[in-house]
């Protein structure tokens, strides 16, 4: 059996609805993840992350006063960030493409639409663990590589034709 023993993992659940928090915590427990800290919104989570070194967070989008996007932006960019490369799974009832793009551009690793299923949540957690994407840092973006697949391309490169010389890749 290819199980997963996540007993050593620490996870923060950031969600303003107590029932969703319970649902997520319950699924985590089936993976052996019992070190779970709960926060009610992004600001609460940021404060708690300074004394709870989460290995990844599961965060809702719509919360007040700080929503999930603002939270992700703070994690990735703020000098006060407790961990700029912290893996983030965003959970939301909104699935419009523009909103998904906003989450991706904020540096969210994985996205899950409500109503969530145990299979969906376990799948996102598995992706974080088994298929982590490299992080990319540029002037305007910091987060997991937004290209999930590297596909071959045989046509002319627009950037080379326009005289664009970059980017210079530096692998850390």
């Amino acid at each position: 059996m290819n199980g997963l023993n996540g007993a050593a993992l620490k996870v923060m659940v950031v969600e303003d609805n107590q029932h969703f928090r319970l649902l997520i915590r319950t699924v985590l427990q089936t993976l052996g993840i019992t070190q779970v800290e709960e926060a009610r919104d992004g600001a609460d989570a940021l404060a708690r992350l300074h004394h709870f070194a989460a290995d990844f967070v599961i965060v809702d989008w719509k919360m007040e006063p700080m929503d999930g996007i603002a939270f992700a932006h703070h994690i990735r960019w703020s000098p006060d960030s407790p961990n700029p490369t912290l893996p983030i799974i965003m959970v939301t009832g909104y699935s419009e493409p523009a909103l998904l793009a906003e989450a991706r551009d904020a540096g969210v690793n994985e996205f899950l639409t409500k109503p969530i299923s145990a299979k969906g949540l376990v799948g996102r957690i598995t992706s974080l663990i088994a298929a982590p994407r490299p992080f990319v840092r540029s002037e305007t973006y910091f987060g997991p590589d937004r290209r999930r697949r590297q596909l071959p391309f045989s046509g002319p490169e627009q950037r080379s034709q326009s005289g664009y010389q970059g980017p210079v890749l530096v692998r850390s």
Binding site: M1, L4, F20, L23, S117, A130, G166, R171
Partner: protein, 164 residues
Amino acid sequence: MTAKVEILDDPSPLKNKVSYGDGGIDADVIARAEQVVAAMQGDYLNWVVDDLDKLTQYYSQAAQLPAADRLAVMRELFGVAHDIKGQGGSFGYDLMTLIASQLCRFIEGCTDFNDLAMDVVAVHVEALRLVIADRLEGEGGVPGKKLLVGLDAVLKKAGLPGDE
């Protein structure tokens, strides 16, 4: 112009903290997680009643106000409906998600919460109550289909925005 792009390979390696097989998580683990969530259905049926009561309270509160002053209360009602939409399917009540989704889309698209619009909201709230009262699990079978057809008819009759 040359832009500098830095690549960091797996900066937060979680693999080191878990014991994990080569072939991925097998179906047993997912099945167990699904069973545990399914076992929460009883709890869901308890707390969703609280959410339904909140919907009714917000509806009554808004209905007592002049149409022009209802928006703030309807936003509160939207928040509860959105939670119901997000939870139903997780606990085997997909019909709750479908109806609450339709209610949310209606509220989002509504620019005037006049009495006709309030009637549409009331019908959706009653439909949500019926789903729970009659334990219409999944998409509710034939009764569920009839309920959705009826709600569509209400939206069309009212000529107001609903779910696309």
